[in-house]
Amino acid sequence: MSFFEIQGLRMHYATSRGRVKAIRGVDLKMDKGQALGLAGESGCGKTSLGLSILRLLPNNAHITRGRILFHGEDLLRKSEEEMRRIRWKYISMVFQSAMNALNPVYRVGDQIVEAILAHEDITKDEAKERVSELFSLVGLDPGRAGQYPHEYSGGMRQRAVIAMALACHPELLIADEPTTALDVIHQKQIIEKMDELREKLGMTMIYITHDIAIISETCDVMAVMYGGKIVESSKVRDLLRRPMHPYTQGLIRSIPPLHDSVGRLTSIEGEPPSLLSPPRGCSFNPRCAYSRDICRTSEPPLRQLNGGLVACHFAEEIPWP
């Protein structure tokens, strides 16, 4: 039994313009202690996937198929009450916008105390003690726990949100673009902190980001999402050394390197697909330089190749670099 597994998950949002098919069949398996980087562009379904796991989706979202197994138990079959007990305590999430995740009219420390008391049978003093520990852990001065969110800088707020997510020592942490709003120097500090905490607490982590470089620095395994599906996944080092899917290859080619001069970057032509009416066949086919007839009619399954998984009919034939 895997520690965490997603099987055949499908989810759409019902909108006035039709169904937005945000997750179109996702399979995923994780071992305890692993860090998975989930890469993809805006609108590819990666945030929806995170929210599905915690069952925090908005009302117009419908999961139509699949299972999300945590210690072998299907989270999709849990009652709302059971989910409330699981959230924060066993699975928690760091959201992109720290400003929205903190309540502006409560002191930061009190908000975390409250979250702890809601899940654990300990005294208020013990909870306060833990908040001090958490603050030190994420590199915040425990003396500032009595301050309000607006008295914090952006970097401090993001640390506070991470402290809150870690408050009940969760087994699985989902971090959705946790550093995107931050400057690089703060970003590096927070990434290193999360890495350190993961080792210390033996946490399993799903790191959702558009930034492949961050994944390459923090994760063991990487999955690339496109058009509501995982199109490639494998060990980070293998995937970056030899990306197999044309989309992954295009992404890597379009990132300017810091320390090498490049002649001219190659961009991926066209635009990401609309999930309202995804293209027939492979969802990348309208932008793919290698696409042939079969790509426009038949959807390639995610299959094993070179020790990883790839969803492309012609992965064997596509050269790299």
Partner: protein, 267 residues
């Protein structure tokens, strides 16, 4: 010869008044001097709050400096008024970070791109239409005719930023300030916009101030790079020197914080 020279440029903003006691100030740009050569892409790099956007706005006189001078083509633009100021404005333009905000949602593509021509009374009638189409073709939005009646919400992010660029270039400026023009865009379409901007620089002989927090993007786009920190330029040099041989501790800290694609970087 330099197209732009700034000397001891300073901009101070009043922040809040305390209940008892005086006005507080923040110095956004502090004693900044640099030159931008003709046809150069000059990079201004720094973190949020470092003063780089304020600096860009000062160069276009979208903000008035507290002190210091800005010479554009030999003329101190901080002293310009009336007709002279108008003719300066015709020669410069700005490209903003967020095409979702910089385009009026009630304007069609045609309206957005034609507006600068109308405001600056540059062209009307058939000539105006011809120049709008030409600007759209220049940013590779083709066939341009089919896009003229579209609204921003009907366009993708990349198309929107292309429209914003067409709008900035329709008056045929000599100098453009691009403020984080790709940071809101998806990774896969960023490279296309960057390449487009480099092509336009070559085709139109543009001079450009390129503001970014992303050092790798700065290296790709710029000829020289200035690193800003707390309102000051702490380092300025060719992109190779600044990135491969940084002198200032802040530049080093910045460079060492950039996440790297491990398999690709040489070790």
């Amino acid at each position: 010869m330099a197209l732009i020279t700034t000397e001891n440029l300073r901009k101070v903003f009043p922040v809040r008044k305390r209940l008892f006691g005086g006005q507080e100030y923040v110095t956004a740009v502090d004693d900044v001097s640099f030159k931008i050569h003709r046809r150069e892409v000059f990079g201004l790099v720094g973190e949020s709050g470092s003063g780089k956007t304020t600096c860009g706005r000062l160069l276009l006189r979208l903000l008035e400096p507290t002190s210091g001078s800005i010479y554009y083509d030999g003329v101190d633009i901080t002293k310009l008024t009336g007709r002279e100021l108008l003719s300066f404005r015709r020669r410069v333009q700005m490209i903003f970070q967020n095409p979702y905000e910089s385009l009026n949602p009630r304007f069609t593509v045609y309206d957005s791109v034609a507006e600068p021509l109308i405001i600056q009374r540059i062209a009307d009638g058939e000539e105006r239409r011809r120049r709008v189409i030409e600007a759209l073709e220049r940013v590779r939005l083709t066939p341009a005719e089919s896009l003229l009646r579209r609204y921003p919400h009907e366009l993708s992010g990349g198309q929107r930023q292309r429209v914003a660029i067409a709008r900035a270039l329709v008056t045929e400026p000599d100098f453009v300030v691009a403020d984080e023009p790709v940071s809101m865009l998806d990774v896969s379409i960023r490279a296309g916009i960057l390449n487009l901007m480099l092509d336009l620089r070559d085709d139109l002989d543009l001079t450009m101030l390129f503001i970014t927090h992303d050092l790798a993007v700065a290296r790709y786009m710029c000829d020289r790079i200035a690193v800003m920190h707390k309102g000051r330029i702490v380092e300025l040099g060719s992109k190779e020197d600044v990135i491969e041989n940084p002198q200032h501790p802040y530049t080093r800290a910045l460079l060492s914080s950039v996440p790297r694609l491990h398999s690709l970087s040489k070790t």
